[in-house]
């Protein structure tokens, strides 16, 4: 499946799709979107890239094993979950900054939780797909 058009297109699509996935992640709290969908879109971006350039090359672009994203994501989500406990609230209490931050909007623990979900989803999808594609061919 080496097509010059797909290769060229995917090279530009990769950053755009990832940007889109971040957009989905950030707007999730107010409009359709969220960490889960965002993560899936980002994963699709890499999968598309791997279709055009081969899985090994995509792995080089990422730089790390996608599996490394799983603990990072789980850690961030767990941190967002237990952070309120440290200041005396029950688990999963939503904590928010008073003022909105430019571009991102309101920043709160829910967003960090969503970020964790986002990273875990990318990690899980890419781990499964890349493992299968690398080791079965």
């Amino acid at each position: 499946m080496r097509s010059a058009i797909l290769q060229t297109a995917s090279r530009y699509l990769l950053p755009i799709l990832i940007l889109f996935s971040v957009f989905l992640l950030l707007r999730g709290h107010y409009y359709p979107g969220g960490g889960f969908v965002g993560g899936l879109v980002a994963a699709i971006a890499f999968v598309l890239h791997s279709f055009a350039h081969g899985t090994t090359n995509t792995m080089k672009v990422i730089g790390y094993k996608p599996m490394a994203l799983i603990p990072v994501g789980l850690g961030i989500a767990a941190l967002a979950m237990f952070m309120p406990v440290l200041i005396g609230y029950p688990v999963m209490t939503g904590l928010w900054f008073e003022e909105p931050i430019p571009v991102i909007g309101m920043l709160g623990s829910a967003l960090f939780f969503d970020l964790g979900v986002y990273l875990v989803v990318i990690g899980v999808v890419l781990t499964i797909l890349f493992t299968i594609s690398l080791h079965t061919h």
Binding site: G73, A110, T127, I128
Partner: protein
């Protein structure tokens, strides 16, 4: 007080990583554990003697009423002193008995675990905590019986013991939960106060039955006795410790513990007396036919446990005093006999009575210990056993008028056999002429023959000064059981009365039986011809049947074909749903509520159906995958029409990724091979159509059922005010139901790791080949 229980558990845990330091002679250091607990407990004797009860309370799972609630009263003190005292000697004895065994550290770990859980049973003031330790003793006993794990007999006996006692444990747990529900508390102190409530409750007979099954399985009462002779496959120190002195007495302890709660009713007394008499007679007579030393001891132990059950059932103060005294006496002489048997086995390599004789010439101190124990078991005056035998006769003779005769006769016959059995185990191997083969035998290490000697001398000591034990140990224990002040006076000389005559007659006739009854293989064969309808065979047939059933079930239900699993799951769901729809009343369609069908929807449904047909009829895997993905996209479009953008987006991405995954996997699969014959195709079609129809009917049914929107209204109302989000779906995911999401991503991660490791694993194993 907490450390008495926890120290053993911790030691046994620490022996896993640090065990290798204790495989050598250093294992003797571990004796300090039971010894120090023993010394610690000794200081409670004066307290307990004054009738004081010490408590220790630590919260564990308060929401389930399970707490580390400990209670040290007369009964628990007596048992814990036995457990740690005999435990110290057994620890010492085992260090040379199993010298050089490669798993010596494991052995001690199991032994520590056992000791701690046994202490837990006797110290618990919470019946659920008691149950946990109860199960721990079953488990540690399983490991200890199966300690020689390369011997199939050993493994089988361990499994039998575990399944019998484990089964009893289930009954016990049910009984305890019932008790807790009736009385509203799981604390033993409070249960004693609520005894009348439980006894007058309509469930009382059920509770009694459940607790009895628990106690009878543990204490090897008929018809559950058969695991105990099998348990003799364990190394002898284990038999001496678990299967004569302590663990099998846990059932007796349970009965004693529950005497003030459930006891002194007709149901209680008669059941215990009947089961106890059957057990003690059956096992005592059985012991006569055995030629293996450990078998004789096993059966006489069962018989002794029967006597205890019987006495607790009798329930008069005299009977309770006799029971408690007999617990101590039996622990002392039976552990001694087991240890001397162990020495004989260790030195000569056999336990067959027919081959052993004259060992007194080479093993003199062992002979002294065996002789003292055998005489104590026979009830020779001046030994502790004499006093206990007197008490037993006193209890039976002074029972109800019409019962006294039967009870005394039963006790008399049992005691006759026990006298003979004790002599067979403790004296027979040492008398007669020494066979030439054994002339070169020499005494084993001191650490092996001193422990039985200490126990035997303790039997003599308490026989000479019975009031010492009566006042400090037995009195407080009886007081706990009777839940009333009890004055216990044990005397060497009761005066010349009917009890004394009975005792002496027992001793005389028992000795005659010993000389008449020569151990012969022929008798053993004769007894074993009854094996076919013994409880053991019935139990074995039951478990064999269960294994067959499991085999059959696994073969039919778990055959490893995904298609077969799917078929069963869907068929089962169909049956359930169809039944639910069938009893759910008529179904009608209210056309006025339906919205008009737009052109887009019609076209979409057309595409969807075309894709379905393509998927089902195609002969290429890839086409089928593409077909299913078209179905998925068509459904996405439906979500878009009905304004569910979140769902549509997610479904769309998931669908895409699924196709990619399929393509990766399909790459490695062979092309479609049509294995299905026509019947299979028709069957699958019927099941699939049926499922589709049922789901459609449900969809229609949903319309006619008024929906409960309170939950969605709550989310809608509070999404912004509480969680500062306008997208309700996302707020539910990351805030309202955030913990769910957390676990979902954990599950996803586990799935990813699973795929990764499965594929990696397969590669490495193929590389090995």
């Amino acid at each position: 007080m907490l450390f008495t229980v926890l120290s053993g558990l911790i030691t046994s845990g620490l022996l896993i990583p640090f065990g290798k330091f204790f495989r050598t002679k250093w294992c003797a250091v571990l004796i300090l554990l039971p010894l120090s607990i023993f010394c610690y407990l000794l200081k409670f004797i004066p307290l307990v003697r004054n009738g004081e009860v010490s408590y220790a309370f630590y919260e564990w799972v308060p929401s389930l009423n399970i707490n580390f609630d400990l209670r040290l009263d007369g009964l628990s003190l007596l048992f814990s002193l036995l457990i740690t005292g005999i435990g110290s000697l057994i620890f010492l004895y085992a260090s040379s008995y199993l010298k050089g065994h490669k798993y010596l550290d494991r052995f001690y770990a199991y032994l520590c675990l056992f000791m701690a859980s046994m202490l837990g049973i006797v110290l618990s003031n919470n019946i659920l905590l008691l149950f946990i330790f109860w199960e721990l003793t079953s488990i540690s006993s399983f490991f200890l019986i199966g300690f020689n794990n390369d011997n199939p007999d050993s493994r089988k006996s361990a499994l039998t013991a575990l399944s019998v006692t484990g089964m009893g444990g289930f009954f016990l747990l049910t009984g305890m939960i019932l008790i807790g529900n009736i009385a509203g508390t799981f604390s033993i102190s409070e249960l004693i106060a609520a005894a009348d409530v439980i006894k007058n409750h309509e469930m009382y007979p059920v509770v009694l039955l459940l607790v009895f099954i628990g106690a009878f399985t543990k204490s090897a009462q008929f018809p559950f006795h058969f695991w105990l002779p099998g348990a003799m496959k364990a190394p002898t120190p284990v038999s001496a410790y678990l299967h004569s002195a302590t663990m099998v007495k846990a059932g007796i302890f349970l009965l004693a513990r529950f005497t003030p709660i459930l006891g002194n009713t007709n149901e209680w007394s008669y059941t215990l007396m009947i089961i106890g008499s059957i057990t003690m007679l059956y096992a005592a007579i059985h012991a006569m036919f055995r030629t293996d030393l450990k078998s004789i001891l096993a059966y006489s132990t069962i018989s002794a446990l029967g006597i205890l059950t019987f006495l607790i059932g009798l329930g008069t103060e005299a009977a309770l005093v006799a029971a408690v005294t007999f617990i101590v006496v039996h622990a002392l002489y039976k552990a001694t006999l087991f240890m001397t048997t162990g020495i004989i086995d260790h030195e000569t390599g056999t336990r067959e009575l027919t081959k052993l004789a004259g060992l007194r010439k080479v093993l003199l101190p062992v002979f002294v210990a065996g002789l003292l124990a055998a005489l104590s078991s026979a009830g020779m005056p001046l030994l502790f056993g004499f006093i206990s035998k007197d008490l037993i006769y006193e209890a039976t003779l002074h029972a109800d008028q019409h019962l006294a005769v039967y009870l005394t006769v039963a006790a008399f016959i049992t005691n006759l056999c026990l006298v003979a059995a004790g002599f067979m185990a403790g004296i027979k191997p040492f008398t007669g002429t020494l066979p030439q083969a054994y002339e070169k035998i020499h005494l084993p290490y001191k650490s092996m023959w001193i422990p039985p000697l200490i126990l035997a001398i303790a039997g003599l000591f308490f026989g000479l000064f019975p009031q010492l034990a009566g006042e400090h140990l037995i009195g407080p224990a009886v007081q706990t059981m009777a839940h009333a002040p009890a004055a216990v006076h044990l005397k060497i000389w009761h005066g010349f009365n009917s009890v004394l005559i009975l005792s002496l007659v027992t001793l005389a006739i028992g000795t005659v039986i010993y000389f008449v009854n020569k151990p012969e293989d022929r008798k053993l064969v004769w007894v074993q011809s009854f094996q076919a309808f013994a409880p053991q065979s019935i139990f074995e047939r039951l478990s064999a049947g269960f294994v067959h059933f499991s085999d059959w079930y696994t073969d039919t239900m778990h055959n490893g074909f995904l298609r077969s699993y799917l078929l069963k799951i869907i068929l089962f769901a169909e049956l359930l749903l169809a039944y639910e729809l069938f009893i759910g009343g008529p179904i009608y369609i209210d056309y006025s509520k339906l919205s008009a069908i737009s052109v887009y929807e019609a076209v979409n449904v057309f595409i969807l159906m075309a894709a379905v047909v393509l998927t089902v009829t195609t002969s290429s895997r890839l086409t089928a995958v593409v077909g299913t993905s078209v179905i998925g996209y068509a459904i996405c479009l439906m979500f878009v029409y009905y304004s569910a953008p979140d769902l549509a987006m997610t479904q769309f991405t998931i669908d895409t990724l699924t196709v990619v995954l399929f393509v990766f996997v399909l790459f490695n699969l062979p092309p479609f091979i049509n294995q299905a014959n026509n019947i299979v195709v028709i069957r699958d079609t019927v099941v699939a159509l049926g499922f589709g129809i049922i789901l459609s009917v449900i969809a229609i049914k949903v319309l006619q059922v008024p929906t409960d929107i309170s939950v969605s209204k709550f989310y809608g109302d509070f999404a912004y005010t509480l969680a500062k989000g306008k997208n309700v779906v996302n707020v539910i995911l990351v805030d309202f139901r955030g913990v769910d999401t957390m676990f979902e991503i954990v599950v996803l991660s586990i799935a990813a790791l699973g795929v990764y490791s499965l594929i990696k694993l397969r590669l490495t194993s193929s590389e090995k080949e």
